[in-house]
């Protein structure tokens, strides 16, 4: 039964994500996580500031339940189904990350430099996490979807707009990793 504690290979993970999308379709919903961020804005009263947030958020409650499930699933996956959460990335990637100052590469699930409790009192970590979050939230709504809505739901439905968005995701990601990371780390 030890296999249950191992990370899932891509050929298990991919079909499982497709299953999630299929099950959502079969209960009459479309897979897309980033719309929850808009719903959360509306719940916080953003409708007073912009029309974009004036919509019936209760129709989106189902998706917030999916979010709650994703949180519970994260707990189950990490605490009940994993003993050693170190991510075995490519050794070349590990050495490059160490040069950039990520000493936890290859040893943890997330870089401790950004995601352990000390990051909460480290100004640089807080700024980078906030900036990352701002770009994700702004970009995803501007693009009308994120990895789930465009890369998975949209591409599965052969939507050209989704392909353009996914190309954009990659251009942005490549700029960040190859051009901006050497400047900030």
């Amino acid at each position: 039964m030890d296999w249950i504690y191992e990370p899932w290979p891509w050929y298990v993970s991919g079909p499982m994500i497709a299953l999630v999308m299929f099950l959502l379709l079969m209960v009459g919903k479309n897979f897309g996580m980033s719309s929850n961020l808009r719903t959360m804005c509306t719940i916080c009263g953003a409708g007073k500031k912009a029309d974009f947030f004036r919509f019936d958020w209760k129709a989106q409650r189902w998706n917030l339940v999916v979010v709650l499930g994703a949180i519970i699933g994260g707990f189950i996956g990490s605490h009940l189904m994993t003993v050693d959460s170190a991510v075995a990335i490519n050794p070349d990637t590990i050495s490059r990350l160490k040069e950039l100052g990520f000493s936890s590469a290859g040893k943890t699930y997330l870089p401790t430099e950004l995601f352990d409790m000390n990051a909460m009192t480290d100004m640089k970590s807080l700024i980078l996490l906030s900036l990352g979050g701002l770009l994700v939230g702004f970009g995803t709504r501007y693009a009308g979807g994120c990895t789930s809505g465009h890369a998975i739901s949209g591409l599965s439905n052969l939507q050209l707009p989704s392909l353009i968005a996914v190309v954009g995701f990659f251009i942005g990601g490549l700029i960040m990793i190859h051009l901006i990371f050497p400047l900030i780390f």
């Binding site: 891509w10 999630v20 500031k49 591409l155 939507q159």
Partner: protein
């Protein structure tokens, strides 16, 4: 009943995001460095199976579990919003190492600083809502 089905699907999604390591910042970095097939295998196999499933649903008389017709809302035709929005999203995805699904999975996994990313992403969405009429779409 329906609420329970959404919750169970969400749990399956959360477990998958964690166990696939798609919620790992390191895997996202490695993907953009083209130093592993892992993430490409995940996204590629999801999309190939997804295309087959969507075509099956469209061509066969498949109804939802509740007997409704399954809808596929088409995305509005445009270029700029998808390209510019996509690039901004990609910059954030690579920096924070998490997109809007996995970031919630990481809350459950117990990484407190991910809350900073989530709050900032809600603010980012809010900012978009404030200035969206001034942006090319």
């Amino acid at each position: 009943m329906r609420t329970l089905s959404y919750l169970l699907i969400g749990i399956l999604f959360g477990i998958t995001m964690f166990k696939s390591e798609a919620a790992s910042w390191f895997r996202i970095y490695e993907m953009f460095k083209f130093e592993s097939f892992h993430m490409y295998g995940i996204i590629g196999s999801t999309v190939i199976i997804g295309i087959i499933l969507v075509q099956l649903i469209k061509r066969m008389p498949i109804k939802s579990f509740y007997g409704e017709t399954i809808q596929f809302p088409p995305k509005a035709k445009s270029f700029s919003r998808y390209m510019f929005g996509g690039i901004l999203f990609g910059l954030g995805w690579a920096l924070a190492g998490a997109c809007p699904g996995p970031m919630f999975t990481l809350v459950g996994a117990g990484y407190v600083p991910i809350l900073v990313v989530i709050i900032a992403s809600i603010l980012g969405t809010f900012l978009y809502g404030l200035i969206k009429d001034k942006l090319p779409h």
